[in-house]
Amino acid sequence: MEEKKFIWGSPWGYRASMFTVAAMVFGGFLLQLLYGPFNFYFLHRPVNYIVGALMLILSVLSLSAKNNELAKRLSGIHLAASLMVFLLIFSLIMGLTPQMTSLPQNADLWARLGFAQVTSSWPFIIIYLATLMSLAMTVARRVKERRKGDLVFLLNHVGLWLVLAAAGLGAADMRRHVMYVQEGQMEWRVHSDDRQVMELPLAIRLDDFIMEEYPARLAIIDRKTGAAQPPGRPELYQFDPEKSKTSLLDWDIQILDYHYQAVPAGAGAYQYSNMPASTQAVQVIAQNHHSKIIRLGWLSPGNSLLPPSTLFLDDKFALVMAQAEAKRFVSKIKVFAQSGQETEAEVEVNSPLRVGDWLIYQYGYDNRAGRMSTYSSFELIYDPWLYPVYAGLILWALGALGLIVQGKPGRGKIE
């Protein structure tokens, strides 16, 4: 068999490639033991630009070196597959063992070798960079060869390279801060990781914070322990304002009246009110399947100003309205950038605002106050690499579509 040939001979096989990658990993372990986890800050601009540019220059230079064995090997499929095998092994370790954000003082050898923080371990970073290099050289070679039907190949590999380079190396330039802004006020200060007050080049004025809730869910609880019933797998009924009958445990429950905003009106009843302190309330009639006992009353989850209302069903159980869940929360803000640019926008989950290289995300609010929250918090992320990553994602997605339409190129469809 061919494989009997000396492993470093030409053509380079899987064995030589696996040895090469294993050697890189071994070197990574040594670095890890010597210097501890990889510090991403090291790749901070301009280092990441230089690394990326070097990769591109080297891969273009490798083209001019005719029949260069090393270039062939580095851009070959054997090395690519071997790198993937090691990436698979590292990600399996990540997927199977708990990962830590920081190492304890008395970390064992496993943790000190980087297995407890795989993504910031030297071996992983080295494999990542080698994968980037191998991708760049493969793309360069294939562009030069100009093979027919290489479009899908190029879309996938160029897209992946852009994503891995811009999102990976670019991660070193990202900064994230959480900013708390009171309604009606302007804020530009955040706390850094070491609890120092920092000023950002953006200021946010919170003009309004709006929170919408889902209709609060009904549940039966144990009057003594407060545990939702049945214990272990509590049944919660999310009623639909249009459909108002259900049964919970042994009780048929009918909704008679529902207010999204209500205040107590005396004698246990509630009435509509648009006061800021209003809460949800529902009037129900409940009948027990067996004893046919009927209970009538109002339920409310209450809030930080109003007490909750419950309905005692019998000696043991009570019907309650659970804390309402957030449907959406929106902050109406005005952003002032140092450049003088002013932007007004509504920011909510899944809909961040972009101002220059900053992205402003709706982060949170006062959970205990719910819709009465007087502040809103934002995560501000500085990310100058957004466009290259999105360009990469789009190319890669087109490549994925290409795979679906084209299948494996070079072979006809087999009926």
Binding site: M84, V85, M94, L401, G402, G412
Partner: protein, 259 residues
């Protein structure tokens, strides 16, 4: 339109999809096409009518999401079938689409189950449907790989089956990567990270890497058995990604616990 109309429109669509599956199995392809398109059109009409009816994009509740799943699964499955002429693609996708439609009819109380704000996104449906399609297609690839392994053991590998296997894995991987890409773009929009090595993300990466290894091993002659064994192995990893992440010690605190 409201959900009340759904109970009148969904059964005919399901029946049409069922008929399409029957026809394609009997090689009556024209009829199959007509039935399939008919079912998809009924769904399209309902979605448009319902959108107008609720006066907002119907992507908020679980029931509404299932509506899109049915629509996209049937439409994408039909297109993939037209391209590749594998009749099981049509049968599979119409079956999956019908399951979601039936859940919406039988469990109407699940319509209004709340979607937490992070899930309310136009990425939700393409993200989940792409993964569902890829999982079903890769399942077929796994079965085919087991058949081929058996044939190799008896000394008679089927070379047509190799070509089928390669194509099917390319298609399945294509959908898998679309799921991953939409997931990364969505995560950036919701949390500001493309990829945070959440346990589900780590396992999605593992699964994708395993299929990528298969594809690259097939390009240069490697040991055929080892290469083929990658497929059942990759599918085991895929099942862990899909179902197992809730049980892994490394997975406590995953953002995907609801899925």
């Amino acid at each position: 339109m409201t959900w009340a109309h759904f109970n009148w429109l969904a059964p005919p669509a399901i029946i049409l999809w069922f008929l399409a599956s029957l026809m394609v199995m009997r090689r009556k392809n024209k009829l199959a096409d007509m039935f399939m398109i008919g079912g998809i059109l009924i769904f399209a009409v309902f979605i448009v009518g319902f959108w107008i009816g609720v006066q907002r994009p119907p992507m908020r509740t679980m029931g509404e999401t299932r509506l899109w799943h049915s629509f996209f699964l049937s439409a994408a499955g039909f297109l993939a079938y037209k391209r590749w002429k594998y009749s099981w693609l049509l049968v599979f996708s119409s079956l999956l689409a019908s399951v979601f439609a039936i859940i919406n009819m039988l469990k109407p109380e699940m319509h209004s189950i709340a979607l937490m704000p992070a899930l309310q996104s136009y990425y939700f449906v393409p993200h989940v449907t792409a993964y569902m399609l890829s999982y079903s297609i890769l399942a077929v690839g796994t079965i085919a790989s087991l058949i081929q392994l058996k044939k190799i053991n008896s000394g008679k590998p089927d070379f047509n089956l190799y070509a089928f296997l390669d194509n099917i894995i390319y298609i399945g991987l294509g959908f898998l990567m679309l799921g991953l890409i939409t997931g990364a773009a969505w995560a950036k929009e919701a949390w500001g990270h493309y990829w945070s090595w959440d346990p589900k993300e780590t396992w999605a990466f593992i699964t994708a890497a395993a299929y990528l290894i298969y594809i690259h091993l097939r390009l240069r002659e490697a040991n055929r058995k080892i290469t083929l064994l990658m497929l059942p192995l990759a599918f085991v990893l895929l099942m862990i990604t899909w179902l197992g992440t809730s049980f892994l010690p490394s997975a406590s605190g995953s953002v995907h616990v609801y899925s």
